[in-house]
Amino acid sequence: MVSVINTVDTSHEDMIHDAQMDYYGLQLATCSSDRTVKIFEVKNGTQRLLTTLDGHEGPVWQVAWAHPKYGRILASCSYDRKVIIWKEHDGHWSKLYEFNDHKSSVNSLSWAPHTLGLAFACGSSDGSISVLKHMGDNQWDCQKINNAHSVGCNAVSWAPATVPGSLIEPPSNSYQNNFVRKIASAGCDNLVKIWCEKDGQWIEEDKLDGHTDWVRDCAWAPSVGLPDSKIASCSQDGRVIVWSSSGKDGVWTSKILEKFEDVVWHVSWSLTGDILAVSGGNNKVSLWKEGLNGEWTCISEIGKGQSNSNSVCD
């Protein structure tokens, strides 16, 4: 059913903290404690190191690709409190912009849906979230949500631009108005918070309280045009929770997917939003699928020792 199509030897000198493929699945960006970001071209089972990006002064926690309609743009965030935007021009990568306004490690970064323009959000251990929008001419407009999470913000994730709730409403004349700008964020206050931009201000729309320890990651499920929204969150307490909202009343209901023994670090949705990949401190990856009855089942587990083998169980 599933097969390993590529195994990339990154030659990073320290632990890898994130690996992301671009929009077309052709290039892979990895970042590491060795303070570098590397970009590989992965094609037909081969790999080619395109570039190594130096510029961070601490471990690089996360990388994210922007939508290709803005060109080949990659953002990275690091312990050194910086976010760096990298851009390729004629096969040459260079630093386009450096965002330097956080007082502590920047832990997470997420590009806005491309229909909202070139914009991204980042969350830091200083507790704040910054939303930066490109205003043209390499000018970035920064909006800051201060004290978004006391102690620190661990993850940010954008909502899909077409919010299903609005689909039921009568069509408005301007399609643009139907776009929403929302962010889910996870923090050390054990909460997932939902932020919404209204009249140029980011306001806290909701607070999802279900974890008993730091929330390490949250991910807004991609929209396939259905009226309900889903957010997955995972925590130090080992719980993975899927939050869903029908979109009508704005009430979020939680469902505990599983409680793992060890910390869960990542939750990631498949592109149709029906499979959730969960990974954490136990060095294992499990895939969860929602059945027709709304129950989540583990359909696959990829653990230690299998990463080098050529197949995973289904």
């Binding site: 599933v2 205003m135 001419d137 206050d189 320890d213 730091w214 045009g225 499979i275 990974s279």
Partner: protein, 1046 residues
């Protein structure tokens, strides 16, 4: 003497090379014993040597031990080689009284009895254990021999007849009344026992620390000879001493190639250490818990190989962490009593009888009561937390910034017998369960009866004192009242407000669900305070820090450490779905054993990395065996003496352990240059681990293709044809065949069903003359489709959803096209249905015959899947009547009725609406399916398919109406033509200035572009070529219907 931030006082004695240390029972005199001297140091003036006694022995003093009994507190013994000396200290004279000799090999351990003050025991590898009475030094009071030599001898703290000895990995328990043979044998460890200690709380409990990396706890009253439990340290344990308060255990690892692994544990919950002492620059040789009197805090005195004495005050949080809480809360009730009896307690030479009134410590022992409990022990179990001597220091340093409240004023006031609140027990319980071993936090007072709590926060530059009072209703939706009562100038009004806000929010959040909030509040507070003081001290550093301060380095370390508390622990494995359906997995490599903390869990914050390095410099389990004896290891370390740089925790160091300690320390010694304060990020800058060695530590990134388990099929996406009016059935059957090749059986059935439905663009067929109902009103019309859509929505099969939406498109461009046709009746070879033949009759004929066939087929299929019986019956009968209905062809209809131009819904529009197969009011929803599907298709670079789908989108979609789109704010307001030229000439300097956007792939055109000179639509040359291979009309979704000239 330097007072560091962590409450440690360092007293360097660079000329004393002592190997052993002891503090007398009153906590007044510290003896450091070296080969040459005995150095006596006053506890209160630790920098000064009060008395020096020359020894000039050729042997190292292996032990120096004060008599722990207050009646004999002036005596101490020293052991060296085969002898033991007895000394007496009568200030200011130190007198050597006598030498006890008898052993034929080195004395390995000695211990004073705590019950018989004249008696001590020695043991040696000569297989003898001697008991000596200092009143009769000529021969041992008792001699007993064993087959194996003893390495440890320890008296029971309660029973004067009981002692324990360690022989390799075994423990023997002796009753000295029967000295011939041990009363118990315990097979304790697989390798050598380094230390034995009896509990302060329970007569029968003892702990053994071993080379096999564990500390095990034994109960001699049980027949069972299994250890009650153990603490797994992952490194050989050199010392493990019970704390004289609570349920604590101080452990000392002996492999000290990393900073000192001295840690404090709570033995009732030994998953994580309560505290890690990590200021030491070298091996800790000895340590002891000391308290001068009950008004003082417990203090840990350590003697380190870096030739410094260090004094670590045990703050309230630490005591709580060690389970000394019950005693602390008792104190509330007994304070008054304490104050009264203070004077008599100060007389330490005799045991004051009043102390017996105090509750026996049996209440704090979880294992049971003790009849033999001596008064003295109960002394030791008392703690007095309210006095914080460091506050005095600080206030004087800050020139009275803290408006003088003497420590005594913080003392709990008079006992209040009446309880105020409705739930004092609940509050009491919360206080008891409170774990306040938080950084910077000092708890001054917890008073259940008054429902208040006073604490302070202290950092290098900042001080805050907080008063919390709990309303009677708390925690039932009543928020405690927080109030800062004192602060240093460095804490701005703004930051105080910020802290208060955090506290209130956190409290509110918890009490709303009637949960208690104190601990979460304190955690938030300390974390924020740490972050604050970090930032502050960074900003202030240039002026406030004298550059020649020898402790600058320490400050840096501490500050970085604090910052790390709020930073999550790095993620070292993970799985990320990529946008095309691949799963990207990165993991730690499989050949490496992951870190196993005692709890088996990965820590949450980055700070654990540092404390891990300090507390568990462990070798992998397999290497413990190769480690030499403690002494030889000490010497090997002695030579290297690394200048420690604890601010650089390697992330990988958490998972990988260096095998050769000396090598690592050597390397670190010369690879790391001192850094600027702000730059000391914990990184992997120690590149001593070279790439060739390192990269095997870094796992590979594996990319797995999971597109096959997605609900949509990539293969089908490229093969699907959108059923158009002209080739509706063929397209459906084509799709069916494609689904078959992909083994997607439900889709095979779906497409065969759909192929049987009437062409949705011709569904204006009335069912019968007398029914003014379109086909869509039948159960096979809208109800059937909405069922399908509901089902595939659940499956998240956006592909099928989008295909259905396109197939049964709500807004077939037909009506628009009819307009176009009317205005410019150009003959077209391609269209959406009505124009493929100029010959209308042929077209009509064809569609009628099609519908005949369709209806017959549908009835068959309908009976087959048998929906609700009534409707199926009605419908099947009706369906057979269908062919009789005379064809009021949609073609005719459309040609006859020009579309209305005004906004009044005409009959035609109503009819158009009614005949739709899809729900008309959720048009946007279908567009959303198409958009989502297009998005996926564009990731797969199926641009032609995207354009095809987009042509079926309703006009609300935000698609470019020109061939280019400018993403530049500067250009956005310009007219299309202006924009075009701006784009061409690149006058705008924006790097994101989109030149043109390809209509097919929606991406900027960087390379060869081609566009229509008539309608200005276009895109990538190859994309346009591909499109016009199959199409003749412009791909623009705006239905410009231009026959493009490229």
């Amino acid at each position: 003497m330097h007072a560091c931030d962590d409450g440690v006082i360092v007293a360097p004695h660079s000329n004393i090379q002592a190997t052993s240390m002891s503090v007398d029972t009153n906590g007044e005199i510290i003896i450091l014993a070296s080969k040459r001297h005995l150095s006596l140091i006053n506890f209160c003036q630790p920098n000064k040597v009060v008395k020096k006694v020359n020894l000039n022995s050729k042997w190292d003093i292996s032990h120096v031990i004060w008599n722990p009994n207050r009646s004999h507190r002036e005596f101490f013994i020293t052991t060296y080689n085969q002898c033991t000396d007895l000394w007496q200290y009568n200030e200011p004279y130190v007198t050597a009284l006598t030498t006890f000799s008898g052993h034929t090999r080195v004395v390995s351990d000695a211990d004073w009895s705590r019950c018989a003050p004249d008696v001590f025991a020695t043991c040696s590898l000569d297989n003898y254990i001697y008991l000596w009475d200092i009143r009769d030094y000529k021969k041992p009071k008792l001699a007993t021999s064993t087959i194996a030599g003893a390495s440890q001898v320890k008296w029971n703290k309660f029973n004067q007849n009981c002692l324990a000895t360690a022989h390799d990995g075994n423990i023997r328990i002796w009753d000295i009344r029967n000295g011939k043979s041990p009363s118990q044998y315990i097979t304790a460890h697989v390798s050598k026992i380094n230390y034995l200690d009896w509990s302060w709380n329970t007569e029968s409990e003892l702990a053994s620390a071993s080379q096999d990396t564990t500390i095990r706890f034994w109960d001699t009253s049980e027949i069972r000879r299994n250890s009650k439990f153990q603490i797994n340290m992952q490194y050989p344990v050199w010392r493990a001493k019970y704390t004289p308060f609570g349920m604590g255990m101080t452990s000392l690892a002996f492999l000290t190639f990393i900073e000192t692994p001295l840690a404090l544990w709570n033995i009732t919950d030994a998953r994580e250490p309560v505290h890690v002492y990590n200021d030491h620059k070298d091996v800790v040789l000895d340590f002891q818990w000391v308290r001068q009197n009950k008004d003082q805090d417990w203090c840990l005195v350590t003697w380190c190989k870096d030739q410094s004495l260090r004094f670590w005050r045990a703050d309230y949080g630490l005591l709580i962490g060690c389970g000394a809480l019950e005693e602390a809360t008792q104190l509330n009730n007994e304070t008054e009593f304490y104050n009264e009896t203070k004077s008599s307690e100060r007389d330490f030479t005799t045991n004051s009888p009043q102390i017996k009134v105090v509750k026996p410590p049996s209440s704090i022992s979880s294992t049971g009561t003790n009849a033999n409990l001596s008064v003295q022990t109960s002394d030791d179990l008392k703690i007095s937390y309210p006095v914080d001597p460091f506050i005095d220091d600080l206030s004087s340093q800050n020139n009275g910034q803290f408006l003088g409240t003497s420590p005594s004023s913080i003392l709990p006031s008079k006992l209040r017998s009446s309880t105020i609140g409705t739930s004092p027990h609940r509050l009491e319980q919360e206080f008891q369960l409170l774990n306040v071993s938080l950084p910077n936090l000092i708890m001054h007072q917890i008073d259940t009866s008054r429902r208040i709590c006073i604490l302070s926060l202290r950092s290098a530059t900042q001080y805050l004192k907080l008063h919390i009072s709990f309303p009677p209703l708390y925690p039932q939706n009543a928020v405690p009242i927080f109030q800062f009562v004192k602060w240093s100038d460095s804490v701005s009004q703004e930051s105080r407000e910020k802290l208060l806000k955090t506290l209130q929010e956190t409290a509110q959040h918890h009490v709303r669900s009637n949960r208690s909030c104190l601990e979460p509040c304190l955690r938030q507070l300390t974390a924020q305070f740490s972050a604050m003081s970090y930032v502050d001290s960074k900003d202030r550093e240039p002026e406030s820090q004298p550059t020649n301060d020898p402790l600058v380095h320490d400050h840096v370390v501490l500050r970085t450490y604090r910052d790390l508390h709020s930073i999550p622990f790095p993620r070292t494995s993970g799985a990320r779905f990529s946008s095309v359906g691949y799963l990207v997995i990165f993991m730690r490599p499989t050949h490496v054993k992951g870190f196993q903390s005692s709890s088996g869990k990965t820590p949450r914050s980055f700070s654990s990395l540092l404390s891990h390095r300090n507390s568990a410099p462990s070798l992998p389990m397999g290497f413990t065996r190769h480690v030499a004896s403690p002494f030889s290891a000490k010497h090997s370390i002695y030579g290297t003496s690394p200048s420690s740089m604890p601010s650089e925790p390697l992330v990988s160091s958490f998972y990988y352990k260096e095998k050769k300690p000396s090598r690592k320390s050597l390397k670190r010694h010369h690879t790391i240059a001192p850094k600027e304060a702000g730059d000391s990020f914990p990184t992997s800058s120690s590149y001593d681990l070279k790439q060739n060695r390192m990269h095997r530590y870094v796992g590979q990134v594996v990319i797995i293709d999971l597109t096959r388990i997605l609900p949509i099929s990539k293969m089908l996406s490229s093969q699907y044809a959108i059923p158009e009016a002209s080739k509706f059935r063929e397209a459906c059957l084509h799709n069916k065949a494609e689904a078959q090749t992909e083994d997607m059986n439900d889709l095979v059935e779906l497409w065969s069903c759909v192929s049987l439905l009437p062409n949705p663009r011709k569904t204006s067929l009335k069912l019968r003359n007398e029914f003014e109902e379109p086909f869509s009103a039948t159960p096979m019309g809208r109800p059937f489709l909405s069922k399908l859509i509901e089902h595939y929505s659940k499956l998240k099969d956006v592909q099928t959803l989008a295909m259905l939406a396109c197939t049964f498109c709500n807004d077939p461009p037909a009506s628009k096209e009819s307009q176009v046709v009317k205005s410019s009746p150009v003959k077209r070879s391609f269209s959406y249905g009505n124009f493929e033949n100029v010959d209308g009759s042929l077209s009509m004929h064809k569609s009628t015959s099609e519908s005949k066939f369709d209806y017959a087929g549908i009835s068959m299929w309908f009976n087959m899947i048998a929906k609700s019986p009534t409707s199926s019956e009605t419908f099947s009968t009706r369906s057979f009547l269908l062919p009789t209905s005379p064809g009021s062809s949609p073609d005719e209809y459309l040609f006859e009725e020009p579309p209305s131009i005004n906004n009044i819904p005409s009959e035609v529009e109503n009819w158009n609406k009614a005949r739709q197969m899809l729900e008309t009011d959720s048009k946007q929803r279908y567009d959303a399916f198409k958009d989502a599907y297009c998005d996926i298709l564009s990731r797969w670079k199926m641009n032609v398919q995207v354009s095809e789908i987009r042509k079926h989108s309703s006009d609300s979609a935000p698609l470019p109406d020109l061939m280019y789109m400018v993403n530049c704010q500067a250009c956005d307001n310009k007219s299309p033509k202006e924009k075009f030229f701006l784009a061409r000439e690149k006058t705008c300097s924006s790097p994101f200035h989109g030149t043109m956007i390809c209509l097919i792939c929606q991406l900027p055109v960087w390379k060869l572009a081609s566009f229509c000179s008539k309608c200005f639509h276009g895109g990538h040359a190859d994309h346009m070529k591909e499109w016009f291979r199959d199409h003749t009309i412009c791909p623009s979704p705006t239905n410009c219907n231009c026959e493009c000239v490229l």
